[in-house]
């Protein structure tokens, strides 16, 4: 187990003018579960691959457990990795796949066997040890990949979208299992994903990335609750945060949305009289058929089972609001919305940065 210290890491792929990672610095504590979250092309996988030693940075440094590994070959870094495509060895049995790293490290045969048995039991692969990967389902292959990674007792465990090739139900199931396994191991883990649900549910901390930079770093609830800019709010959450143009009262107590006024959070005071964007999560919008601060027209009604997702028009802007599952509405209905001031986040209309 070790901490990971990334300093000013720069990488530009040959033939590209834009940096894949743009001067990234990140400190990951010993035993921490760090999630790198972002849309495709944001540099999260590049960052992971540089930590793994599969790509070399142009500038900056990486230290694992106090040892500089920036330009060390992958096999000398003492890492373990789970790949998105599983990357199990098709010509080897499940047993040999799991044992691969230990065998390469010339570990004692008895210990290798003991570890393989342990990992196989943990991941419910005991019955499949003598099969070839081709005889396994996708979910089982991913289990093999995880087993192969955890037997290594590596300093740092890297995971590159390990759940994204699984179907939805399996993904949810395995996510819980993965969290328990990693919790019990206590290994420093760096996990790359584009799925905000995974990021929030797994990470001790989440680093949201965009265009080669980390735009927000914090614990999952904080990142979800108080996105520091519009991009983060629009990326996290399903459906993501709503953004509405508004103007702050000169004294900072109310927000004008068209002709309607909603109470402003304390942060509005610094922006008295200015244009802002209101950020509000769908589940924080109170929907009522009788009264509220805003009047809205229902466009689409989508029952999700746990809630009813309404797409409504306020003026000419569309909002998504999550109403209780018992809420009944039909397209064309008029509903009333209230925004609790405590749940509102304000963003500067020009910079899209959070207003504090």
């Amino acid at each position: 187990m070790s901490d990971v210290l990334i300093s000013n890491l720069v990488k530009t792929y040959p033939g590209n003018t834009e940096r894949a990672t743009d001067d990234i610095s990140l400190e990951i504590a010993d035993g921490e579960f760090m999630v790198l979250l972002g849309p495709s092309g944001c540099g999260k996988t590049t960052l992971l691959r540089m930590i793994a030693g599969l790509e070399l940075p142009d500038d900056g440094s990486i230290a694992i457990g106090g040892r500089d590994v920036t330009y060390l070959p992958a096999h000398k870094r003492g890492l373990s990795m789970v790949f998105q495509s599983y990357a199990v060895f098709p010509h080897r049995s499940v047993r040999d796949n799991i044992a691969f790293g230990l065998t390469m490290a010339k570990k004692d045969q008895a210990e290798v066997e003991r570890k393989v048995e342990w990992a196989a039991e943990l991941l419910q692969l005991g019955r499949y040890l003598d099969r070839k990967p081709a005889q396994l389902s996708g979910g089982q292959r991913q289990r093999v990949a995880v087993a192969r990674a955890i037997v290594m007792d590596a300093d740092v465990l890297l995971m590159d979208e390990p759940l994204s090739n699984l179907d939805a139900l399996l993904r949810l199931e395995f996510r819980t299992e993965l969290k328990k396994i990693v919790q019990d191991l206590g290994t420093t883990t760096i996990y790359v994903t584009h799925d905000q649900g995974e990021a929030l549910s797994l990470g001790d901390r989440v680093a949201v990335m965009r265009a080669g930079r980390i735009v927000q770093l914090g614990d999952p609830i904080e990142v979800y609750d108080t996105p520091t800019d519009r991009f983060v709010g629009g990326f996290l959450g399903s459906p993501p945060m709503n953004f509405l143009a508004a103007k702050v009262d000169p004294d900072g107590t109310g927000l004008h949305i068209g002709d309607d006024v909603v109470p402003a959070p304390p942060a509005a005071r610094s922006h008295g009289g200015r244009d802002v964007l209101i950020g509000v999560r769908p589940e924080n919008i109170e929907v009522s058929t009788e009264r509220g601060d805003l009047t809205a027209h229902v466009e689409v009604v989508e029952p999700t089972g746990a809630a009813v997702l309404l797409t409504v028009d306020v003026g000419d802007e569309a909002l998504k609001a999550a109403a209780p599952a018992t809420f009944r509405a039909r397209p064309g209905d008029v509903v009333h919305l209230s925004f609790p001031a405590a749940a509102l986040r304000l963003y500067d209309a020009e910079t899209h940065a959070l207003v504090n």
Binding site: P73, A74, H75, S85, H91, M104
Partner: protein, 278 residues
Amino acid sequence: MTAPDRAPLRRHRRNRVLLQVACVAVTAFMAVPLYLITLAAVSSRASLNAFPLSFLPTNLSLETLTAFLSSTGVVPSFGNSLIVGLWTLVLSLLIGVPAAYGLARTAFAGKEPYQLFLLFTRALPIVVLSVPLAQLFLTTGLYDTTYAVILLHTALSLPTTILICASVFLAVPVDVEEAARVFGCTQAQAFRQVVAPMALPGIAAAAIFTFVQSWNEVLAASILTLNRRTLPAQVLSSLGDSPLAYRFAGGFALVVPALLFIALMRRYLTNMWGSTIR
């Protein structure tokens, strides 16, 4: 309700029958000569001259084949062919596999032109290559040796070996190789432990292709040798002034080893052209 129009169904059935007929016709086109040559090779000399010729194996005898095998130069040339084929195979893999791996895994300036350039060796007619080479081999003392033929056959087979193997390596996922490196392999170990076993069927297919190409090549072998001929060159040179039976037996002896080789390796061949290399 009117009865359904059955014309499309009838058309469908008729097309299936026609397809079968076409398949049989094409197969016969390939198989009948093979059958006739085999039949002639294992029939007695007398029955070959009989009229009408029997199309059934009524007069079996090994007389023709033994006569062919015991005629001058046949057995040594058979050996030469084997030596040339196997060495060509070994050399072309030794040079071709690393080249193919490089082509598949690295991006370098001029990669596309290089791949095209590879095929230029095959664009030149063998005669055009052989005559200057014969000159060169005469001066270097390699003329009329199996080495000369091996070198030329290797050169001829390299483009296909490299391109086939490169496509085989392309089909081995990079991820798997990277996984091997993360789990403690150097690049060379990753190749030996993971990439090579996964690519083996495809490489075997390339090897077969090379061997059969070398086995069947006659022109260069005839030009570059006089006394150390390969089997096809030997048969070709003595074809004009040999009896009919000898020609059949020679054809048979040429076809059978190549066919056997392909039959043995068929699994790998279908693997190569199919999508599975695992």
